[in-house]
């Protein structure tokens, strides 16, 4: 067996193929380098919270994984499959959009600004992708959507339009919409930051329920430190695109090693 060749799939550590692997990821916006050779993995069913000062690259990481940003260099692997770029005979090649879509289907995202489709009712927002991406029948998609909307406490508003809902309700619809795709990976980027304080609790309760009742892998960016503590298995502290410290939330939140982490936590809590 030749050993001097880079394999076409990511290196496997012990414990098999990770759910998500960032390998030498570089992201530049023009001449600004936001991520410079970032490496990390996320295990199956793991809940990872990304913390760090503004501009440290947290959103960029989630957006790269959702294919909303173009990867400047490096690779992102999902269950060992290349997301946007693959290694073929040692060369980095960009995948075609059809191939990208296959892997992307396993990933869902909830946005800070909800981004519901205002021209559709609540239930139509939820069934749109299951019907047109997963090929579910209308009945099947609707049944599933109604059960999800019930779980997020919105069974009484299924025929409303998003504009008729509060921010908290809209965000819960957005969670149901993402869950309707049955994702293996869920990305949450400051999903309560745009909400009035009194509406944050309901949304976090829904997310805790999702975390408790599924084994979906989650990457979470949040300023809700108690929530992060409750749901996450690991916290990664970012600064200028680098992980400067990571570990169990109990450790990171109560006894961080790094001075920058201490300062950051003092500022946000």
């Amino acid at each position: 067996m030749p050993t001097d060749q880079t394999p076409d799939t990511p290196a496997q550590g012990n414990g098999g193929v990770p759910r998500v692997q960032f390998e030498d990821v570089v992201k530049r916006f023009g001449s600004t380098t936001v991520l410079d050779n970032l490496n990390f993995t996320v295990g199956h069913g793991e809940r990872v919270t990304l913390i760090g000062p503004s501009g440290s690259g947290k959103t960029t990481i989630l957006r790269l994984l959702m294919t909303l940003e173009h990867l400047t260099d490096g690779y992102i692997w999902v269950d060992g499959d290349p997301l946007t770029h693959a290694r073929q005979d040692g060369k980095r090649v960009e995948l075609r959009s059809k191939q990208i879509a296959q892997v992307r289907k396993r990933i869902g995202m909830v946005f800070q600004q909800f981004n519901l489709f205002p021209n559709m009712t609540v239930v139509d927002n939820v069934i749109e992708a299951p019907i047109h991406v997963l090929g579910q029948s209308k009945e099947q998609a609707r049944e599933n959507a109604l059960s999800l909307l019930d779980k997020v406490g919105l069974s009484h508003r299924v025929d409303a339009h998003p504009s008729q809902l509060s921010g908290g309700q809209q965000q819960r619809v957005a969670i149901a919409r993402a869950m309707a795709m049955d994702p293996e990976i869920l990305l949450l980027d400051e999903v309560t930051s745009a909400l009035d304080p009194e509406l944050v609790g309901d949304v976090l309760a829904v997310l805790k329920d999702v975390a408790a009742s599924t084994d979906i892998t989650m990457l979470i960016v949040t300023h809700e430190m108690q929530f992060a503590r409750d749901v996450s298995d690991r916290v990664m502290m970012f600064d200028s695109g680098h992980i400067i410290e990571e570990g169990h939330p109990d450790k990171i939140f109560s006894d961080p090693d790094h001075e920058r982490t201490q300062k950051f936590l003092q500022a946000v809590i």
């Binding site: 879509a101 990933i107 981004n115 992708a129 339009h161 504009s163």
Partner: protein
Amino acid sequence: MWDNQLFLESIPILLEAFLKITLVVTVLSSILAALLGLVWAIGLRELPGWAAAPLRFVLDFIRMTPLPVHLLVIYYAFNNLSAMTVGVLVFGVHYSTYMAESYRAGIESIRKGQWEAATALSLPASRTWRAVILPQAIRNTLPSLGNWAIAMFKDTPFLIFISVPEMVTKAREFGGQNFSYVESMTVAGVLFLVASYPTAVLMRKLEKKLAY
């Protein structure tokens, strides 16, 4: 001097030209322009650069050259086409370039988050356009499309260049035969107004109806 007799006599003649020519050309050209304009607007966004650039050039060229010139060129270049057909095609294509701009503005007014949500749900491009972007964009574009249709309607007298007997041509003929233009031209003007105004009102109603 104003002649009531001439005024009344001119009404049925002009009304006939109005219904048979002016209205037919306006309606058919508006439909054509609205459809083509949409095709151009989507094409400009979705086509790769090497294909979008020439399309943009052609659209700019059409928009920046006078309509009567197009009428004459197409009329003499394709002498197997009837003047009416040439009228509908030229008006439709000419105004489609304006409508494409309106659609473009409508599409650009859609927040980036809508496209991103569609990507996050893995919606295919066709579905993103049909179910997410266009329903919102067209709603924003509708008033502007209506204005272009009315502008086109007011341009129909250009059909005189290819000898289509539209209403103003008829009014001129009638005036010439009776040595007085005021009456027939007044009727033509009133008919334009009578048709434009309800159209504008209708567009506003439709816009409200499409609100959510």
